[in-house]
């Protein structure tokens, strides 16, 4: 009979040992666009912190916001910042605020298939807005030809292609169009899915690319990373300083640097049409969403630790995966914001 308490004690001790050995699981869900860099980060970070396990599901920004609000995951991720209504919903449901942490930068580029045109076309904000509003319908419209001197543009109808699935790419594109065109702002607006005045929908970057490749005289938009990795030709866009800029890692970082000076404390900022001579105008941050109060001390420290690492060493992994780095000013500001997590 004496054995039983001993066995019990041994079992408890053993389970405590196992408990300590089990890595702490941190769940996240959200945006698909930064998924490659996030999974790289989590993988590298785990190697140095073997007691941690990150589980990130790229279910889309909308689902990420929903899940972090419902408390089914520890953190969310989104390509478009949460709006005031969503912040309020979070506050009401969880009794605490949520913090946005920019992680990497992305951009959206116009891609096209015009028979006889091989070089990069120039696009003005007015031309892009006009085409997507369905007002500019021919490739030889003065709005396009006037900035593409020497290119022989046909008198064919433009086939407009957009994303059919809700996406951060669409958010960035429509956010930009809303900034450069009042008509777009009032008629259509910005969002992950909108009521398109013109065009066909393709599913995913690959769907839009396929549609553009298959359809002569078409114009679509895709993520810069996708275009770069698949060697898809894309055009330049006129920025707010009047220069035609081609999207690349530098011009995207430039856009973030331009916006960094007026960075609000909650980091919810759009960097489309950002100031700066070399800034590419259709750029965006992507954010991690972290609750302000994390009751579980181990989780809190783990998340804070990861954020600090991501802002320092983590940024070194960006360019290999064709994500643009965060500007220094933003990193400094974010480091301070980490202390807000309690």
């Amino acid at each position: 009979m004496k054995r039983i308490p001993m066995l019990l004690a041994a079992a408890i001790a053993l389970s405590a040992l196992i408990w300590a050995e089990t890595p702490l699981l941190i769940n996240g869900a959200g945006a698909t666009f930064p998924y490659p860099i996030y999974s790289k980060w989590f993988d590298v970070y785990k190697k140095n912190n073997t007691n941690l396990e990150f589980n990130y599901q790229s279910v889309g920004s909308g689902a990420g916001i929903r899940q972090v609000t419902d408390g089914t995951v520890d953190f969310g991720a989104t390509d478009g910042p949460m709006n005031d209504e969503q912040l309020k919903a979070f506050q009401e449901k969880r009794g605490t605020g949520i913090l946005h942490f920019p992680t990497v930068l992305g951009a959206v580029v116009p891609t096209y298939n015009v028979p006889g045109v091989s070089g990069a076309l120039n696009f003005t904000p007015d031309a892009l807005a006009g085409i997507y509003l369905g007002k500019i319908t021919k490739w030889n419209d003065p709005a396009i030809t006037s900035v593409n001197k020497g290119v022989n543009l046909p008198a064919n109808d433009i086939v407009v292609v957009h994303r059919s699935d809700g996406s951060g790419t669409t958010y960035c594109w429509t956010d930009y169009l809303s900034k450069v065109s009042d008509e777009w702002k009032t008629k259509v607006g910005k969002g992950t899915s909108v009521n398109w005045p013109a065009g066909l929908g393709g599913k995913g970057n690959e769907g839009v690319t396929g549609q553009v490749k298959e359809t002569p005289n078409s114009l679509g938009y895709v993520e810069l990373i996708y275009a770069a990795q698949n060697n898809i030709p894309y055009g330049t866009v006129k920025n707010s300083s009047g220069a035609f800029v081609k999207a690349d890692l530098n011009s995207v970082s430039e856009a973030a640097a331009g916006a960094a000076k007026e960075m609000p404390d909650d980091f919810r900022v759009s960097i489309t049409n950002a100031p700066g001579k070399a800034a590419y105008p259709i750029s965006t941050f992507t954010w991690l969403l972290i609750p302000e109060k994390i009751p579980d001390a181990r989780k809190r420290e783990a998340i804070k630790g990861f954020l600090s690492w991501m802002l320092a060493d983590g940024q070194g992994y960006n360019e290999a995966l064709t994500y643009a780095k965060l500007p220094k000013e933003v990193i400094e500001k974010e480091k301070k914001a980490i202390n807000k997590i309690q």
């Binding site: 909308g62 699935d165 809700g166 910005k190 992950t192 899915s193 009521n195 398109w196 929908g201 298959e214």
Partner: protein, 328 residues
Amino acid sequence: MTTATPTIHSAGPRVGSRSFLSQLRDGDEIARLVTFLFAASVVLVTVLLVLELWTNSALPRTKFGLHFFVTQVWDPIMNEYGALPFIYGTVMTSAIALLLAVPLGIGAAIFLAELAPARISDALQFFIDLLAAVPSVIYGLLGFFIIVPLMRTVIYPALNKPLGFMPMFKGPSYGVGFLTAGIVLAIMVIPYIISVSREVLLSVPRDQREAALALGSTRWESTWKIVVPFAKTGIMGSIFLALARALGETMAVTMVIGNTPKISASIFAPGYSIAAVIANEFTEATGDLYLQSLIELGLVLFLLTFILNGLARLLIIVTTQKGSGIAV
């Protein structure tokens, strides 16, 4: 005398004198109960499904009411949602699919069941079953890379030039649209029609054919006038199956329909279907009204399937009143 007669009504032979306990021992009652539960679970799942869709679409149901069915706008920014373009696209693509697939499928089934040698018939059946098992995304890719260009360069000019005066064949073609989606769906549902119809035709009693032949009819006459009418109900069943698959198909449709929530008379125009919009927008749907409107679309699809199946069944009852042999 037998106080312990089971309460479940039995369709099988009644076993009056044996007590409930002895039946239980023999396993009859257990088997009946277990299989009854299995059968009931189908009903339960359906009921739960409708209930779930119903409760999770409360917001748009109270906000839009029946307007949801007639509104043509789908605007997540202004929070205005209407199902009409999606209903139209779903019905239109399924109708085109059936129009193409039914004659082809039934024709092929007749050949395989009645006219082809058994060895060829069995060999072909293997390929047909293989086709039925191909995932829909493969059909979508096939449609996107083969039928879409074909539509733009061959099918569209061939139909638009002579028939362009009719609204159905008017307008430009981008390759994607109702007709393209209908063709892809037709390719997907043909194996179902062939497979089921062939089985039904094969199970028509030999006497029927022999009697027809003995009365001096040709082989085709006995097939067309005796065997096919005999198997009518079963063939109709295969068409239901095809219709159900066409209505709910998601991936293949979204890749070739153009994903534009517009109602156009032209079959070359791009459109949208219910299943496609749910798949496209569900993950990124922010805001309760938006999400619940998508769920209500699911409810609409359920309703649509229900109504169309009901109509088809009614059609059968009306057309086969003289009575035919085999039902599926």
